[in-house]
Symmetry: C2
Subunit: 226 residues, 2 copies
Amino acid sequence: MNWRERPDWRVYLVTDRELCLGRPLEDVVLRAVAGGATMVQLREKEASSRDFLALTRLLVRELHGRGVPLVVNDRADIALAGGAAGLHVGQSDLPPADARALMGPDALIGLSVENMAQLEAAQTWDVDYLGISPVWATPTKTDTAEPWGLDGLAEAGKRSRLPLVAIGGIHAGNAAEVIAAGADGLAVVSEICSAPDPEAAARFLRGLFRNIPPFRPSAASPHGRE
Amino acid sequence: MNWRERPDWRVYLVTDRELCLGRPLEDVVLRAVAGGATMVQLREKEASSRDFLALTRLLVRELHGRGVPLVVNDRADIALAGGAAGLHVGQSDLPPADARALMGPDALIGLSVENMAQLEAAQTWDVDYLGISPVWATPTKTDTAEPWGLDGLAEAGKRSRLPLVAIGGIHAGNAAEVIAAGADGLAVVSEICSAPDPEAAARFLRGLFRNIPPFRPSAASPHGRE
């Protein structure tokens, strides 16, 4: 299956085992997907490679049949061996060109950008979307740069041919503003992982996209705002 | 180049940036190779993927021209993107079969084994050598199992069709005993990384193999002790 043909990053769950309130990570992920999460990024910074791979395989089996791509954070080897749909890299991970060379032409590849210079540099690369990181400051990630803010996000939308997935401090109370500012997708960690009801949390976010189709890179005007 | 055809793990340096006494890692590695190190494993547990890849490429460029293979610890994606000769995996890293599938038929692949059951399980796998870990207890790695000891190493040699590279607590004062017990190679970390003169430290170890050829898997009796 070529996941690049029909990407849908509207409700994009990024996992964090530590934030799952003691619940098994895979349970939280499946509840989120039942609620309408459209993409999942598996992020494991502490797990051994062997455990990371086993979890990737488990989630690929559960999610791909449901039409939801699993993207692995940073580790192209885990993504490849696990049969994941793609890879997400940050600015200190594998360079996007190396990620693409390893993952092949059919893989979804995302890149986090922390400022406008990085966003503009990314426009010519063979990646599928950009993570706008962080929109707001957040306790989940402490190593990130100055937040983009809603104005920065809006400006990023004007300058990007690539779809934008916003991450950082997004919750039910501000998600609509993020979409209004031009985000093609909402990436959340604690908003779903730590929710009392991950399914309901995902359903709420998905509902905000009621009249907004998933970005389609094959459309005539790829970004809609160009 | 197919590094599997002529492997030589007699003096096998495993890197540890923290133990290099403030000297640049690449300088220590090149001094060790000048002294006779025959293989280098790049182990970076803290570096970002991007830095790890850049260092891999630098060392591949420096070492492969000198006929010394560079093997990457754990990260098959870094090994592949960096053009390394191979990959070394531990028991909680990628399973050997997945490592081989990712790395391809020409890559050198090593596997650490911590007990006889693991050593026996590894005999049917498509790996090139086994790391006998640890021979002795060592402050460098604190997460390892009960040491093999010299008697355990000797017994391992009788039960293994694969060449054995001993690691853990090896230094100039005991290295000859490790060879006498049947090790095909000596893997060292601090003995070279923290040596006042890494070149001299490597030269001493290499000298212990004066009358011992590198293991050759293509020989009629592959392990010599069978």
